[in-house]
């Protein structure tokens, strides 16, 4: 595990050069199951190549979105960066160090929120802080917990349990929990995928606001073109799986802070959007046609 010493004052005073991610030649193959019985019966289940030779350099404090058709291995790639899944070949370097497992230098926001239902909002966040900084005085832990609850706008909900919260509020707790351990890198796996459109838009604005306050390297998995354009510095478009590759990396040059309603004033917004739509619809069409063929 890498060392992650928390600075004494505010989280924004962290080392500003930390948090670069280098993905080189990462391949992920799910090997077909072959037990002794399968061997005797000459039964084979095919190997499935999810990712094929992914190379990606992410500079520190860059907001990167990964977008691609469903089933293209976006989440697999994120899990490999998080250390929750091991690449079959290749490696991921974080600040030059090879990723061998999960660690608190990379905060993860899960699509399913993954809040502990038996802990209150405050306890969920404090659990994370206490796990990562076991020697920190409790008073300071509580101070940080409160700071991040305020940051995501959940003041007053500290003592509620997750089942008393709406989906949007749950994900705000998830974001606060990931940020409270002060990771250099924030990994978000379709964080708003389970939310309705209005809540989704609101939380995207919140992420934009928070990111202006606390610059970090962010990798966001998303299905939404607008979400990617609003939040990202770079957009990584992936091809369909199996053996998904990176099709193209787009630069998003709009100045920050960005406002959702002002984005379409930039002529490039429409070009980028059109390019992404072309790519995604073409990929999605092939995926759907393959599915139709497979089902008849």
């Amino acid at each position: 595990m890498r060392t992650n010493t928390r600075p004494e004052s505010t989280p924004s005073s962290m080392d500003t050069t930390a948090g670069s991610v280098s993905i080189s030649n990462v391949t992920k193959v799910y090997f077909g199951r072959q037990t002794l019985a399968d061997k005797l019966l000459k039964r084979t289940s095919p190997d499935f190549e999810a990712l094929s030779a992914i190379n990606l350099e992410i500079e520190h404090n860059t907001f990167v979105s990964i977008i691609g058709p469903s089933g293209c291995g976006k989440s697999t790639l994120l899990n490999i960066v998080a250390g929750l899944s091991k690449p079959t070949t290749g490696e991921v370097l974080v600040d030059g160090q090879r990723v061998t497992g999960p660690g608190p230098d990379r905060g993860v926001v899960f699509q399913s929120y993954a809040l502990m239902p038996w802990m209150t909002v405050a306890e969920n966040i404090q659990f994370a802080i206490e796990t990562v900084y076991p020697t920190m005085p409790v008073a300071q832990q509580k101070e940080i917990m409160q700071e991040y609850i305020n940051l995501v706008g959940l003041s007053g909900a500290e003592r509620k349990h997750p089942h008393e919260l709406s989906g949007g509020m749950k994900q705000r707790v998830g974001i606060a929990r990931a940020l409270a351990i002060n990771p250099q890198i924030l990994l978000m796996d379709e964080p708003f995928g389970a939310l309705d459109a209005l809540t989704r838009g609101f939380l995207q604005d919140e992420i934009e606001r928070i990111w202006e306050q606390e610059r970090k390297t962010v990798i966001l998995i998303t299905h939404s073109i607008e979400e990617a354009l609003l939040l990202s510095d770079k957009i990584v478009m992936m091809t369909r799986g199996p053996a998904a590759r990176i099709a193209k990396v787009l630069d998003v040059p709009f100045p920050r802070p960005r406002k959702r309603e002002e984005l379409d004033q930039y002529p490039q917004y429409h070009e980028l959007k059109a390019e992404m739509e072309r790519h995604l619809t073409a990929e999605a069409r092939v995926v759907e046609e393959a599915r139709v063929r497979a089902s008849v």
Binding site: M1, A82, G83, L84, G101, P102, G103, P104, R106, G107, V108, F110, S112, A114, M116, P117, W118, M119, F127, A128, T131, V132, H161, P162, H163, E164, R177, I181
Partner: protein, 276 residues
């Protein structure tokens, strides 16, 4: 003029006079009265065997037992409260011993698939055995009816708790475990702070089933051993006092219901809106 009225609701149909619970209560009372009336008429008109007391006689004797629950006129003549306390004490101690074995064993087997598979044959063979089959073995080993009762209840209490604990521990939502992993939580911290609270609803539901079965078994065990409410049932049969037997059946049922409700509350308390 209000234009935002989409449709005028049809005239409110008359509200039902009673809600579902009130209707069910009324039906329950009706069924109970029908049953008691049938019983009373049947007993008085000689429809049943002469040993069968009438409903009114049974209710009268029931109240006599309930009114003075704690008298003690010797080993074969005790109040029903004292008898219940004897049985409850045995169930409590036996259940605690059984749970003290079952919960740690369930946690270990839930965490380790190897140990779980290795221990599984023991569980699968011993679990379907009627707890009363252990009674002679208990008597042979302990030579004491009190200890044998505890032994039988302890064995009874092990299986549902063990199996539910193992299930709960091995089926913790992987998302919670991933959170612990990404935070770099130690194995011990993951077990105590994540796995055990996540498995708590399953563990408590196992304890609830165990306690229910223990309460069933204590009555049967006490008929064969001595003391307690089970022995009372058998003793009153030897005295041919059917009203006392019916009283005991009702009281055993009520206590069992109470114990179950108690663990039902505990289950709600550890569930936090999760399905359990």
């Amino acid at each position: 003029m209000a234009n935002n009225v989409i449709s005028t609701p049809a005239k409110r149909s008359s509200m039902p006079l009673l809600n579902t619970n009130q209707k069910a209560t009324l039906l329950f009372l009706l069924l109970l009265s029908l049953f008691l009336i049938f019983w009373e008429i049947g007993a008085r008109s000689g429809l049943f065997l002469p040993i069968m007391p009438s409903a009114s006689q049974t209710i009268k004797d029931f109240w006599t037992w309930i009114a003075d629950p704690f008298f003690d006129y010797g080993p074969n003549d005790k109040g029903i409260g004292l008898l219940l306390l004897t049985s409850l004490r045995r169930v409590a101690i036996g259940f605690l011993i059984g749970s003290a074995i079952a919960i740690p064993l369930g946690i270990i087997t839930g965490l380790s698939p190897v140990i779980s598979k290795a221990i599984d044959p023991f569980i699968q063979i011993l679990r379907p055995v009627s707890p009363l089959a252990w009674l002679p073995l208990g008597l042979a080993l302990m030579r004491d009816s009190e200890k044998t009762a505890l032994f039988v209840i302890a064995i009874t209490s092990i299986w549902p708790t063990l199996i539910n604990t193992r299930f709960g521990v091995s089926n913790v939502d992987p998302a919670y475990l991933n959170v612990a992993r990404t935070l770099g939580a130690s194995r011990w911290r993951t077990i105590t702070k994540v796995i055990l609270p996540a498995a708590a609803p399953s563990i408590v539901s196992g304890l609830r089933i165990s306690l229910g079965i223990a309460w069933l078994v204590i009555v049967a065990a006490e008929i064969l051993l001595s003391g307690g409410i089970g022995y009372f049932v058998w003793n009153e049969w030897n005295n041919l006092k059917v009203t006392s037997i019916i009283t005991a059946i009702l009281v055993i049922g009520l206590v069992g219901l109470l114990l179950d409700r108690l663990f039902g509350l505990l289950q709600t308390w550890v569930s936090f809106g999760q399905r359990s």
